[in-house]
């Protein structure tokens, strides 16, 4: 297992070395490549549009971390549930949500995945079992565990995948939740998207236990450090954890080591890290890795690869077009979706 320190990427993953003995098929690699490329280009575009002030709010990009959602999506089953924090653009894309309705949500349009009410931090897609997009750091750890509770209650063999940042693990509710999840053997997989920074604060600066895989040890939660720049490693770890959950043996904690190439949000001067550190991580890029594997195995011709590029480009362009041509929600929408009770008596003074 390639384990790396939090601040520098693995040196043990040689270029292409995973590929030659990989148990994964051409189809899987092509799917990873397409999904990750779509996420990357969607996020590139999102960043550009944000700078052009096409929409407001906060904007947290997933660029660099794509292998985590790609490997999770390929390892999970259709009935499984997914929940994450505000860095949530990539998860629904990996789960198959149409990027058009995601872009429309960024634009605050009524056609968006949350009807323009949630914005960047609050993507939801019930059809794909994507249960948000949550802006309060750590809230999803607890709620996601409740989702697992209900799956167990209903006797399904579905698993809840709950993602959180390395900063989010510092919320005390994590410990309350881990204890109950272990005690009740809930079918949940905790995914730390460990990009080593919570805004400007590195993992080392907030803890004396920098190995986040140890956080569950006082509850004897099985855990693992995973190379988050490789979808293969993520897939295997997720599969193993999900199998454990489906067997009724309870939760797993995965400390998935990754890196965000961009700032925390679009307004982050990034003085807390060096350009060299960013560059070093970028040499481990998961998309380039998959491309190399595909090319070395001659699975796709250059023409076929170009077709993928063109498809991605079209998806992104059409998303923007769709968003820009969609209407904003009308004022009355403010009074809809607040209560299930449709005739709730709001105080209305105008």
């Amino acid at each position: 297992m390639a384990v790396k320190t939090a601040s520098s990427p693995s040196k043990t993953t040689k270029k292409g070395s995973v590929a030659s003995k990989s148990k994964f098929s051409k189809e899987t690699y092509v799917k990873w490549y397409k999904d990750m490329l779509l996420i990357r280009k969607f996020e590139d575009k999102t960043g550009m549009l944000y700078i052009q002030q096409k929409f407001g709010g906060f904007c947290h990009l997933y660029i660099g971390q794509e292998a985590i959602v790609a490997g999770t999506a390929s390892a999970c089953r259709p009935g499984d549930k997914h929940m994450t924090a505000y860095r949530d653009h990539a998860h629904p894309i990996a789960l198959g949500t149409d990027p058009r309705i995601l872009m429309a949500e960024l634009y605050g349009r009524v056609t968006g995945c949350s009807k323009g009410k949630g914005g960047s931090m609050h993507f939801f897609d019930k059809e794909k079992n994507f249960m948000g997009g949550h802006g309060i750091v750590g809230a999803q750890i607890v709620m996601g565990t409740g989702v697992a509770f209900s799956e167990k209650y209903n006797g399904t063999d579905n698993v809840a995948f709950v993602s959180m940042g390395d900063g989010a693990v510092r919320q005390g509710a994590l410990h309350e939740t881990f204890n109950m999840a272990m005690n009740w053997k809930l079918p949940v997989v905790y995914i730390i998207e460990n990009n080593n920074y919570a805004m400007g604060t590195s993992v080392e600066r907030t803890t004396n236990v920098t190995d986040l895989s140890k956080i569950g040890l006082s509850y004897e939660m099985p855990s693992k450090i995973v190379d988050g720049m490789r979808p293969e490693a993520v897939h295997e770890a997720i599969e193993e954890a999900a199998d454990r959950a489906r067997r009724g043996e309870g939760p797993t904690l995965l400390d998935i080591r990754t890196y965000r190439y961009k700032g925390h949000s679009m307004s982050d001067p990034q003085k807390y890290r060096s350009k060299d550190e960013v560059a070093e991580w970028m040499t481990q890029d998961p998309i380039e890795h998959c491309l190399r594997v595909i090319q070395e195995n001659k699975w796709l011709t250059e023409a076929e690869l170009k077709e993928i590029d063109a498809w991605v480009k079209k998806e992104v362009e059409e998303s923007v077009e769709f968003a820009e041509n969609s209407p904003y929600p009308e004022a009355h929408e403010l009074y809809e979706d607040v209560y299930m009770q449709t005739d709730y008596p709001y105080i209305k003074e105008y």
Binding site: G57, V110, M121, I136, A168, G172, A198, T206, K348
Partner: protein, 326 residues
């Protein structure tokens, strides 16, 4: 006088008090090395060192509670919350511990502590990141609650809050940190619990607080052109409320509109309206009106934000209705 940004006024207040009193320190997320998420504490780590300007993990309940304990034991913490929305996680320590300590201990332990940070809406941040907490915290006996609306008030009131021996909830705004205003070169303190008449007028009193008061300034200018003279009261402190200032003004104008950024139910506008009907009943020539946010969570889309927030048109309409004009 000199011109400073709101954030600089806050920083001056904290730095002056920290120079004056060793027991004052600042803690919160990103306050030290990052110089503050909104740059309020810029440079303070350099001046005071990491013993007194302390970065915390994302653990609001934990660090707020540590600060409460420290305050019981003689220190005077300033706790910065990145925004007050995140302080909901710390509400247990603010409400159950800090607010109650003095009484529960029969006067033995008190909590000289300031909880401060951005409050209210700040653009397209969605429902969880857009809440105003004046009414929430004003509800709790044992707390003092302050909402400044300009750099001058911010500095003077924050200094008073830091020197105060009771727990103070200090509500700022991400949208105000860049606002500029004049403050004196030298030291000054503004007492807690004293409202400020920001504009003198004779026809209608508008009571407001925090950044939404700017809507009242603009409305007053427009109304003046129509011959309507508006008096604007900035409460500045929400607990205790300077009721006397409001009542005195309404005795003169006989009309009142309360302008509030947050929701209508159980709000500061409800409170002011109650007080006026109780203590200025005979002076009122029209029902007290209010302009608040709609009775709905704050949504992301700009069209929904426009609908939700108080605006000039609604305020002018409310003012005119107290004058039976349209």
């Amino acid at each position: 006088m000199k011109t400073v940004q709101f954030r600089e006024a806050l920083r001056e207040a904290m730095s002056e008090e920290m120079r004056r009193d060793e027991s004052v320190f600042l803690m919160g997320e990103e306050v030290a090395e990052y110089n503050g998420a909104y740059k309020v504490s810029q440079g303070m780590l350099d001046e005071f060192g990491e013993k007194r300007v302390i970065d915390t993990p994302i653990a609001e309940l934990g660090f707020a509670g540590i600060a409460v304990g420290a305050s019981m034991n003689g220190l005077r913490p300033i706790v910065e919350f990145m925004t007050w929305n995140f302080a909901i996680l710390a509400a247990d320590q603010i409400i159950n511990s800090a607010a109650k300590m003095l009484q529960m201990s029969g006067g033995q332990y008190h909590c000289p502590i300031v909880f401060r940070g951005g409050n209210g809406t700040a653009g397209q941040l969605g429902a969880t990141h857009s809440q105003s907490f004046e009414a929430f915290y004003a509800h709790v006996p044992g707390l003092k609650v302050i909402t400044p609306s300009n750099p001058y008030d911010a500095k003077g009131l924050l200094k008073a809050a830091i020197r105060d021996n009771d727990p103070v909830v200090f509500l700022e705004s991400e949208k105000m940190y860049g606002d500029k205003g004049e403050i004196p070169e030298g030291e000054y303190i503004i007492p807690i619990g004293v409202a400020d008449i920001k504009r003198k007028g004779t026809d209608v009193t508008i009571v407001s607080f925090g950044k939404i008061i700017k809507v009242a300034y603009e409305a007053a200018e427009l109304l003046e052109k129509e011959g309507i003279s508006v008096e604007i009261i900035d409460l500045r402190t929400i607990r205790p409320i300077d009721y006397a200032c409001v009542v005195e003004s309404v005795k003169k104008t006989n009309r009142c509109v309360v302008l509030e950024e947050s929701w209508p139910l159980a709000s500061i506008s409800s409170e002011i309206s109650y007080h006026l009907q109780r203590y200025a009943f005979d002076y009122l020539d029209a029902p007290v009106m209010r302009v608040t946010q709609t009775d709905t969570p704050f949504a992301f889309s700009p069209t929904l934000i426009d609908e939700a927030l108080p605006n000039i048109e609604r305020l002018i309409k409310a003012v005119k209705s107290t004058l039976y004009r349209n």
